[in-house]
Symmetry: C2
Subunit: 461 residues, 2 copies
């Protein structure tokens, strides 16, 4: 790690490839750029002294002892030979191909990758959001350490927003012995990621762990005299709270790009093509700040995932000097998973609801079995797979999983099925490997049986 | 379940689709035949009163209380409307399209599926294999119950043959408190399924559990006066034993087919095309008795897996009356996994050694990381992925996994990559879903990093 000098010692640096940002997308972009262009110098500039593993953040508050255990190592980029500099980029000078840092340092580049990430949203209409002990979940270690440090003083916390971060955080705060109430304005938790039957299962698992869940109600105001005392819902209900955590989404960090005249899309993300190139041929963008298009609908998407960010970063790093139609990004499939206790939940592609809303004529197939065989093993867990299939050509465009802790990788199986645009018939005749202690039975493997159910419905038409 | 009557009450039955066999392949074939041809009557005839879940059999001897917990339910076939009959088919009359049972019952059919399975091999050259307490592992409940019943009398057992069954059985007998020595003639355990570095890891895990492992030595003779007393290795070494279990492979049950003049291949399996049709258009075969061709090499294969059997059975059941080029079987990929303690091991497609032996010019890429992120989670386990990639077009033709209990499903991810003939570049830019408690990190996901390593080697040429 190179520290920048004082402002008084302004200097000019030169690198072939400059990456703004050094979290997941930034470090992977730098690493890939160096691996694919070993003769080029690669430098990532990050504001924070240390990067957090993005999806590990909720676990700092319960399962992990501290944020120290959740550091994303710079070695990811430095081992392959890229450099990491701690500094605050304040401007991009496209004409002269250089960036300016807050301390006055200037860094010239041949190619630039913008990986500036995202910032938690605090809605302007939310009264009282500026009170003491109202937190968001940014990817900033010192901020997270502050929350963690204060936890022992909190008996009751209200978390607002039941996306993955909100759910995982509520689960972890609850594990830490705090009375947690999760408030979600949609009729259910994880409502945009899962269809109703899967979300209901996740909600039941979360409640069973002791988290209070209130759905279908928005938050009107955060109460308190300086410091938080409670929350008023739009139903008029009042919840007591010593602290409030807002998990209401993230907005892309695009100020630098915008100031430099780089085009943004209608949702405020930096426009990129399938090589992750902005409208400036020498400037790329990857991760939360970069435009996403849904793999299936081709519409702009707002899904931000570290895993997608890393895939984008690899594509950007590979295409810096020569475009490759093979190494391009086909659109966001949105593969996520989460765990509540020993229950795993996963989703890839479109949910049935999203598919219908988008105008796809689909059939679905679902099957529930066990994730071990026979089901008599002590760690056997119910496993359910649902597939969403287009009626016209039988292509699998989405899938959801409920299971044990292997649900994450099973969700990745579905991700590859969608990425390969497989038909449900070819899934049905696919070979899978099964083992009593590791997977469902070959005769009743829920993924295959779900395909069978979908094929049956397709045949009936 | 329908019981056949006494021989004195000979009868003639009629069914549209007859399946000989009612284990994994037989029940799945019957179930699929009925699902795809709801107007046809479907009958599976099985010799044993109850079928065993094939891959669950080793676990009867340790983790599971009894074979009762390992029964493959006939409901698989009867729920969709097929029937199961307990009976012993002794002949196939192709001209008159009927089968004859041992009790004289005749069953006429329109379409026949042969799913007669396989029988453990006892090599003719092995002296003393007929002694008391020398066992094999057939898929026969009563036989397995006999072994299990005798276990309390055995202090030392020698298991011969370190394929998956031999390894899992040794692990389970050891769990049951028996002193187990596993003898394998190849230089390592699981030697045909894994490359050396993965097999070495599995061997270390097995030894750590307390199983004695002897590799590179064959068995010359089983000693004893009537009942087993020991084993002499071809090195001259003598091992004491109260019982010996032979796990030296399985041979396909093809007597019925052969007697009926149905063509067998050079390895003794029933010849089938990609619709699982024999050389008689009305007769299909699936499972261990049916010919397998390797997905990559296109050569006949002898790999017998319940999961492959089920895929073949589905294809047979779908193609009985109308062939479908979509619903065909593209060849055996050989996806297996196993678990030793909390270590999972998996393999799909060709190992590096097999690929080179077959004449493929390949490069490999390997990466070791953790299967949780951060790795600080209590249940985190080392995860290693190795990919085998053709040098000419970069197609992934094999992969191996070491990990925790999610290794089985991760191996299935690789299975789908191979089935879709993905290039390693497209794997490298693929999207995966990651979650701290369920998977490796998005920035260091071993499958993606292994692809990166392989691409790096491809680029260097």
């Amino acid at each position: 790690m190179i520290k920048t000098r004082n402002r008084s010692e302004r200097e000019m640096k030169q690198t072939d490839v400059l990456v703004i940002g050094g979290s997941a997308a930034g470090l992977v972009a730098a690493s890939t750029a160096k691996a694919y262009h070993p003769d080029k110098s690669v430098l990532a500039v990050r504001r924070e002294p240390e990067a957090m593993i993005p999806c590990g953040i909720p676990y700092i508050f319960g399962t992990l002892d501290s944020s120290e255990k959740n550091i994303l190592p710079d070695a990811l980029a430095t081992n392959p030979g890229a450099e990491v500099l701690i500094g605050d980029v304040t401007g991009i000078d496209r004409e002269n191909k250089k960036c300016v840092l807050a301390d006055g340092t200037e860094i010239s580049f041949e190619k630039l990758i913008i990986a500036t990430g995202s910032t938690p949203v605090v809605p302007g209409w939310l009264k009282g959001a500026d009170k003491k002990n109202v937190y968001t979940i940014p990817k900033i270690k010192s901020y997270l350490d502050d929350i963690k440090g204060g936890l022992s003083g909190f008996k009751k916390i209200v978390t607002i927003g039941a996306g993955f971060i909100g759910v995982e955080l509520s689960d972890e705060l609850n594990k830490a012995g705090i009375d947690v109430t999760l408030v979600e304005i949609l009729p259910r938790i994880l409502g945009t990621a899962f269809d109703e039957e899967v979300a209901a299962d996740a909600e039941a698992a979360l409640k069973e762990k002791g988290v209070n869940v209130i759905t279908g109600k928005g938050v009107k105001e955060i109460l308190g005299n300086g410091s938080v005392e409670g929350v008023i819902l739009d139903s008029g209900e009042k919840l007591e709270a010593d602290a409030v955590v807002l998990s209401m989404g993230y907005s892309p960090n695009t100020e630098l790009a915008e100031k430099a005249g780089i085009k943004l899309n209608e949702r405020g993300f930096i426009c990129v093509d399938e090589y992750m190139r902005t409208d400036d041929n020498h400037i790329f963008a990857a991760g939360d700040c970069a435009e996403k298009r849904d793999f299936i609908t081709r519409k702009p998407s707002t899904v931000m995932l570290a895993s997608t960010a890393c895939a984008e970063a690899r594509v950007a790093g590979m295409n810096l000097y020569d475009l490759s139609s093979v190494k391009s990004f086909g659109g966001t499939i949105a593969i996520y998973s989460t765990a509540i206790g020993d229950h795993g939940f996963g989703t890839a592609g479109l949910t049935e609801e999203a598919a219908r809303r988008e105008g796809f004529d689909v059939v679905t197939g679902s099957f529930s079995g066990m994730d071990r065989h026979p089901g008599a093993f002590a760690d056997a867990h119910k496993q359910m797979v649902k597939l969403v299939v287009t009626r016209d050509c039988g292509t699998v465009i989405g899938g959801e999983v409920i299971g044990g802790l292997s649900a994450g990788e099973l969700t990745n199986v579905i991700g590859f099925i969608i990425q390969n645009r497989m038909s449900v018939s070819s899934v049905l005749t696919s070979q899978i490997g099964t083992q009593p202690l590791l997977t469902a039975s070959p005769a009743a493997y829920p993924l295959i049986k779900a395909a069978e159910m979908a094929v049956k419905r397709l045949r009936k038409q």
